[in-house]
């Protein structure tokens, strides 16, 4: 009995030693030489492996940074300038600051604005739905509402609003990695400048149909009337293919376009008070939307609107 135990112990120990030697030799022989700075850079990365930088993950990004002659073409959207500064410090390079970006949903086709014309019954994926047909509303261009962007977001920054049926971006969580913009088959999500105090003005519509058709499908569609283009003192607004687009690099956030827009397609977010027009605007608006803009425009301009405190939280993009 004892001899059996002794023999077993001896045999297993010997086997263990032998294998340890083999492992050591293998590790020695197949060792991969790597720049130690890659490890250091990786340490300062956020570690989300989201791929927002265009590389397969944080380590791949670190590798690219180490190999690149400068950091101009590499940017970690998640970590932003802070992380890039750290990376630059590790590598002893210079880095230019970039303006922080945020995902913006350019569709306001809520269930109310954009009535459903049929019911989609296939696999709940925007990609599949877009490949099949024009969607369950009259608008070919708008949000399909199946949440591919939600699935694509690594940071839980996008969720579907059950009331509007549209995705909502949580500005706090959004890192501007752009995964949602890539996932959206209708290209309604755009990375835009976060703006001073998070204030932004943008056209919340990408419908390229002619005005009447667009309006028929959706009450808050951009009809390409061009009023905003004329109103803009900075030449930031361009109407092309029946839809307006605001260049965020030129926009000075004066919000003249917001009041001009007849359908409320231009949104302003995080401003203390809704945009106001100097003179009362006669045109009746569909005031039912959740947009403070339109409500205010319909009211007499003299009446101060006293709900700014709550408004900045309401992000409708």
């Amino acid at each position: 009995m004892t001899t059996t135990i002794i023999w077993t112990v001896v045999a297993v120990t010997l086997l263990g030693l032998l294998l340890a030697v083999v492992l050591y030799l293998v590790a020695k022989k197949f060792k991969v030489e790597e720049d130690p700075r890659v490890d250091e850079v990786e340490k300062v990365m956020p570690g989300a492996n989201c791929g927002g930088c265009g590389f397969a993950g944080c380590r791949a990004f670190a590798q690219a940074c180490v190999e690149a002659p400068d950091l101009d073409n590499n940017f970690c959207p998640v970590g932003g300038n802070e992380v890039m500064k750290k990376v630059a410090a590790v590598l002893g390079m210079e880095v230019a600051e970039k303006a922080p970006m945020v995902a913006v949903v350019r569709c306001n086709g809520t269930c109310e604005n954009r009535p459903k014309t049929n019911e989609y019954d296939g696999y709940k994926s925007c990609k599949v739905k877009a490949a099949l047909y024009s969607g369950d509303t009259g608008c070919f261009y708008g949000c399909l509402g199946c949440g591919d962007c939600v699935a694509a977001c690594q940071f839980g920054a996008i969720s579907m609003d059950p009331v509007t049926g549209l995705p909502v971006v949580d500005e706090e969580k959004c890192t501007g990695c752009g995964a949602c913009a890539k996932a959206c088959p209708k290209k309604i999500i755009e990375l835009r400048n976060k703006g001073p105090k998070n204030r932004r003005v943008f056209v919340s519509c990408v419908n390229m149909e002619k005005g009447a058709t667009a309006r028929k499908a959706c009450k808050s569609a951009c009809i390409g009337c061009g009023k905003c283009e004329k109103a803009c003192p900075f030449g930031a607004v361009k109407v092309e293919h029946n839809v307006a687009y605001i260049d965020f690099n030129k926009c000075k956030l004066c919000r003249k376009c917001v009041v001009e827009c007849p359908t409320g397609a231009i949104h302003d977010v995080n401003f203390p008070a809704p945009a106001q027009k100097p003179a009362p605007k006669p045109a009746a608006k569909p005031a039912a939307e959740v947009k403070p803009v339109v409500e205010a425009a319909a009211k007499p301009a003299t009446e101060p609107v006293a709900e700014p405190a709550a408004k900045p939280e309401k992000k409708e993009e």
């Binding site: 014309t117 049929n118 019954d121 296939g122 696999y123 994926s125 990609k127 599949v128 490949a131 099949l132 047909y133 024009s134 969607g135 369950d136 070919f140």
Partner: protein, 455 residues
């Protein structure tokens, strides 16, 4: 031993409810809207302008590119507009709008009923007629027929296969034309046989259509005994199995040959044409009649028996007009399908108009068609068992959901024929094909992009 394809397949219920109803001619609506995309390949370019007067059978759209087709006016009248209009998927397509007046046919079109059994000798003459009359494949893909009948010089056709399988449930239009226009179909087959220079033509019909088999067999022997050029045509009874009418499956069933991945039927010496295409070829060659009519089935379990119809329609008729003429959309219908229930398209816009390839208006009830909630895959392998291409849909679906393009290609997602057998037979109600179809498109695009620069 009846023949069928060797891999996979499913047996959905026939439901050929409208089989007994004779083809009726639909009266003309007040306005027709003729789409410029009625075929695979480059869209036709409209060559008429608002205000122009067109006659029935006049060319209104010209082909763009090699794979494209002519589009003809199906009515006489004034062009009201040429512009974008939504097709049955709600996608904007150029349509020519024509206000309908009584028919005035273009010169040179033989509108009589006389049967012309003599086959023209000149091969080029036949091909020109087929091309100029805008004939496209009517089995579903609407591939221009003249292109298919001109195989590249290094490939040799050996056998023409005429697809009379009509394996999709509910559809009966092919069945009706095989009963009512069997002579024309056989003559069309003889014409295509002549163009291809093949000695053998097989008309494959599934066993669930015995009257069609009898009728077609009788017609073939009658024509063989009375006229020249009909030798080598035979009718073959096939076992009932979906998707027998798939090109690759039909070749496997009839010739016991399999087309290589990404290959064409001509690689194994086969050319497959639908029976309805054969009828169109007859009209085009023997009568110089452009392809402006086809047969369409209006059916569905929720439709009363007296409204189960097979209609002869012209292109450009609004679907809503046909539905109204038939007595309106049934109350219980929850989905309208253009085409069969396995591969047809769900109509989201009933104002869309009929096209050359339209084959049905199928009404399905919510109970019949609504997708049930998806549950866990139980790895039963029924999808793989059903796949006529021998693929593994459960795997492809997983890969597609994770966007694994390389693995998708390795697992042959590009071979998928989108027949729907996998989704049809999944006990867990997983929408397999929905995702696989999209992934297939992406993989094929990636493959093309890879090979393109090498040219």
């Amino acid at each position: 031993m009846k023949k069928t394809f060797s891999i996979g397949g499913v047996h959905p219920d026939d439901s050929k409810i409208s089989a007994g109803s004779k083809i009726e001619v639909l009266p003309l609506p007040k306005t027709v809207y003729i789409s410029m995309i009625q075929h695979l390949g480059g869209p036709a370019k409209a060559i008429v302008a608002p205000g122009d007067r067109v006659k029935t059978g006049q060319v209104i759209g010209e082909p763009t590119g090699f794979i494209s087709a002519y589009v003809h006016s199906s009515v006489t009248g004034a062009v009201k507009s040429v512009g974008l209009r939504k097709d049955l998927n709600g996608i904007q397509v150029v349509h020519v709008e024509i206000a309908v007046e009584p028919d005035e046919w273009m010169e040179g079109i033989d509108t009589s009923d006389t049967l012309v059994t003599d086959i023209p000798e000149d091969r080029q003459f036949i091909l020109d007629r087929i091309k100029n009359n805008g004939v496209v494949g009517l089995g579903g893909a609407t591939f221009p027929t003249h292109v298919k009948l001109c195989p590249p010089p290094d490939k040799k056709a050996e056998c023409l296969i005429l697809n009379g399988a009509e394996c999709e449930p509910y559809l009966t239009s092919d069945y009706r034309i095989m009963l009512e226009k069997s002579e024309q179909i056989v003559i069309g087959a003889a014409i295509m046989k002549k163009v291809l220079g093949v000695s053998r033509a097989v008309i494959g019909i599934e066993e669930n259509k015995p009257e069609a088999i009898a009728r077609m067999t009788a017609t073939v022997s009658k024509l063989q005994s009375s006229a020249k050029g009909y030798d080598g045509i035979e009718v073959m009874t096939l076992k009932k199995k979906y998707p027998q009418g798939g090109e690759k499956q039909l070749i496997d069933a009839v010739m016991h040959r399999q087309v290589k991945s990404m290959g064409l039927p001509i690689d194994v010496g086969a050319v497959v044409q639908n029976v309805a295409t054969s009828l169109a070829v007859y009209d085009a060659v023997q009568k110089n009649m452009p392809l402006i009519t086809n047969t369409l089935t209006v059916t569905g379990n929720c439709l009363p028996a007296d409204r189960q119809k097979n209609y002869l329609f012209r292109i450009g008729f609004p679907l809503s007009y046909i539905a109204e003429y038939n007595g309106g959309v049934p109350e219980k219908a929850a989905k309208i399908v253009s085409g069969g229930p396995m591969m047809g398209k769900a109509v989201s816009n009933l104002d869309a108009t009929t096209q050359k390839g339209s084959s049905s208006l199928l009404y399905l009830t919510e109970e019949q068609t609504v997708r049930k909630p998806e549950s866990n895959c139980i790895r039963c392998g029924k999808c793989a068992e059903a796949c006529p291409m021998g693929l593994e849909p459960f795997l492809l679906n997983k890969l597609a959901r994770n966007g694994m393009m390389e693995e998708l290609e390795q697992n042959a997602v590009q071979d998928c024929i989108e027949c729907g057998c996998c989704l049809y037979s999944c006990p867990a109600n997983i929408p397999l094909l929905d995702m696989i179809r999209v992934a297939k498109g992406e993989v094929i695009r990636a493959m093309r992009a890879r090979t393109a620069p090498k040219k």
